[in-house]
């Protein structure tokens, strides 16, 4: 997978975020502060501009620029978290012009660890980690398997009680709603399939 592949992935994620913007915000209205869709839309619009302004030379460039831009522009908890994910993906891949499926799977494993550390969160806390964690091993098989695992993981957050992020303040009342961050995470992994 070359630089173009990763540019197409980020473009696909940007499109999906825009299309799902209101849905993500609605999910965040139920158990958060109704800004997850607009946070990500703002972030990926800035990513689009940053990637257009300075065309990246390597896959890692695409990913690190994406991450750094998200950290600077999102404004909510998902900014540092997704920012760290994309920066870790980039750093893990290194400066190879072409990334193997194995190297990408390793990078996603590193990204999971980095998000969990930053957020002091684990699987089952009803966060984006619940979509990413099951996708990481599945990525050893195929993007299809990873996407399915992420979508299932996101859906399964509905029955969980939030233990991290704003939703955790709701305690039991967070049960019965799908986590917005898990939903956007699944969308990003799902977008890999169509690249």
């Amino acid at each position: 997978m070359d630089t173009e592949f990763f540019l197409r992935w980020i473009a696909a994620v940007t499109d999906r975020v825009r299309a799902e913007r209101d849905h993500l915000t609605d999910l965040d209205r139920a158990i958060g502060d109704a800004d997850h869709g607009s946070n990500l839309d703002r972030g990926f619009t800035a990513v689009e501009e940053a990637l257009a302004a300075t065309p990246p030379a390597t896959p890692a460039d695409v990913l690190v620029t994406t991450g750094t831009t998200l950290i600077r522009k999102v404004g909510g908890a998902s900014g540092p978290l997704y920012g760290t994910m994309f920066r870790t993906l980039g750093r893990s891949i290194g400066d190879a012009p072409d990334v193997t499926a194995d190297a990408l799977a390793d990078a996603f494993s590193d990204a999971l660890a980095a998000i969990a550390k930053l957020g002091s969160a684990a699987e089952g806390d009803k966060t984006m980690i619940d979509a990413l964690a099951p996708a990481v091993p599945a990525m050893r098989t195929s993007f299809d398997a990873a996407a399915q695992a992420a979508l299932d993981g996101a859906e399964a957050t509905t029955n969980l009680r939030a233990r991290k992020g704003r939703a955790s303040y709701l305690g039991e009342r967070s049960v019965g709603h799908q986590d917005p961050g898990a939903t956007s995470m699944a969308l990003m992994i799902d977008a890999l399939r169509a690249v």
């Binding site: 950290i71 900014g79 540092p80 930053l118």
Partner: protein
């Protein structure tokens, strides 16, 4: 002197917390608010945090106090590549006052962080 930064979801909460801390602890040590998003909304901004840290950095280190949630994540992300800036796991208002008092005595970075974190254990009704 060690500098202090208060990062909050709310620009005005951060400003008022700074004002109260200065009112009690004085302005011997530098302190700066970093609240809200770049466009003034509720949330946090790493750019505001950078500006605030630069404003209070006198070369002796900087302590950041966070209110909650994304303030913690933004601050953690910010200090990734800074060894002279540390986070205090402390109550926002009470920690800020204690830290500012201690920083004002010329104490070092570790002592200022410790003062902020001890605020957690100080009862108000005894």
């Amino acid at each position: 002197m060690v500098g202090l930064v208060l990062i909050s979801h709310s620009a005005r909460l951060a400003e008022e917390a700074v004002a109260l801390a200065v009112g009690i602890a004085g302005d011997d040590a530098p302190i700066h608010p970093a609240g809200g998003t770049d466009d003034g909304g509720l949330g946090t901004s790493i750019a505001k945090l950078e500006t605030a840290v630069a404003a209070v950095d006198q070369g002796d280190g900087v302590v950041i106090l966070m209110d909650l949630g994304s303030a913690v994540l933004t601050a953690r992300t910010f200090i990734e590549d800074r060894t002279d800036v540390v986070l205090a796991d402390a109550p926002f208002i009470e920690g800020a006052i204690s830290a500012l008092v201690t920083a004002g005595t010329g104490a070092d970075l570790a002592a200022v962080v410790a003062a902020a974190e001890e605020a957690r254990t100080i009862g108000k009704l005894c």
